[in-house]
């Protein structure tokens, strides 16, 4: 990462190869189309390059930081495009199932994919109403009050569902998916 910060193109290429797969998948999940996802990923990676990669290790991993930038860009793109539909609401939506998986280039990548699958399993275990409000907020960029209008429930109910769902995900992480 220090070399990326010094704008070393070769180091940036390695950085791109390491994170572009999940970044693209996340962008696609948010914006719902391949061309728009490409635009989001391109914007996100070029902003990282141009900013000199102001990454603060104290605030988490490089991967989480990168994906956070991709998510923000994706939500911005959704908001820019007023004709965008709300994201699909099932964790098993067709686009994800039909997507061709990235090759498992390294053991580390294989392990990460295995962990990601575990996380998806934990998410599937959430009651649908909890998963739905979390997805609308996290991948759709909607506020709790917008979600309350969409699902026709009181604001307090929506916030309560978000809390229950997030605490369950966190608790599963603490268990190590045992």
């Amino acid at each position: 990462m220090p070399l990326v910060g010094k704008r070393d193109p070769d180091a940036f290429e390695v950085f791109y190869d390491r994170h572009a797969g999940v970044a693209y998948s996340l962008a696609y999940r948010i914006v719902g189309s391949r061309p728009a996802a490409e635009e989001v990923v391109q914007e996100a990676f070029l902003s990282i390059w141009r900013s000199g990669a102001r990454f603060d290790p104290a605030k988490g991993s490089v991967r989480a930081w990168t994906l956070g930038i991709v998510r923000n860009r994706g939500i911005d793109a959704l908001r820019r495009d007023s004709s965008s539909k709300a994201p699909k609401l099932s964790w098993d939506d067709d686009a994800i199932l039909e997507a061709s998986p990235a090759p498992e280039r390294t053991e580390e990548e294989a392990l990460r994919r295995s962990e990601a699958a575990e996380v998806r399993g934990a998410l599937r275990e959430l009651p649908e109403e909890q998963a739905k409000v979390i997805q609308l907020a996290f991948f759709g960029g909607f506020s709790h009050s917008e979600i309350a209008d969409m699902v026709g429930e009181p604001l307090g109910t929506v916030k309560g569902r978000m809390r229950l769902g997030m605490e369950k995900i966190r608790a599963r992480l603490a268990e190590g998916f045992a």
Binding site: A20, V22, W49, S100, A102, L123, K159, E167, I169, L173
Partner: protein, 226 residues
Amino acid sequence: MDERQHEQLRDDISAWIIGALEPAEAAALEEHMRTCDSCARQARWLQPATGALLESVDPIEPPPALRERVMSEVRADAARRQPAESRSRRSFWDFLARPATAMAAVAILVAGVGFLVFGDGGDDGTKSFTGEAPLISATLEREGDTGTLELTGLRELGGDRVYQAWVQHDDMVEDSSLFVPRSDGTATAAIPRDDLHGGDAVLVTIEPHGGSTQPTTDPLVSVDID
């Protein structure tokens, strides 16, 4: 704030961590968490769950054309930056290799020895240096990565030239601030935020009005950065 209110805030923390609060609500919660250990702890505990959400999507192979577009832009940008950085970060050792510069460096070194022998200042968080004749003295007062350079003995330059401060990093120099002396030959130059970070010394040269992207004259003074 009582326990019941904290319990309500726990709902807000979950909403905040997935970006679902309105901006004003988010700002109020963030302000509260600055002074509330209990809520800040809850937010820290939940944070890994957002990482799990980010990672929860199956990797989809991005198109090779996307990689080509990104890397092509990156390499073009790097190529555009290179000439500019070469101008502003020219090799300090190349600079010293010029005969006139080498002479000036010797003069500075001699003056520096005199400074050390006579033990003039430098024990109060400042670094001082005495430069060329007629005697120019410079004192760098450092605060973190910023600093203030105080100089005396400077001559007036007229309207077409200015003094320019530079920060030396290993064998490179980076431009810092421009300044002109007062009528009594004193001057104060601010070394902006972060300029001193990782630097070895602050140098001063005379440059054309508007400053230069690389030194065009020999350094008048050099003050070590601790």
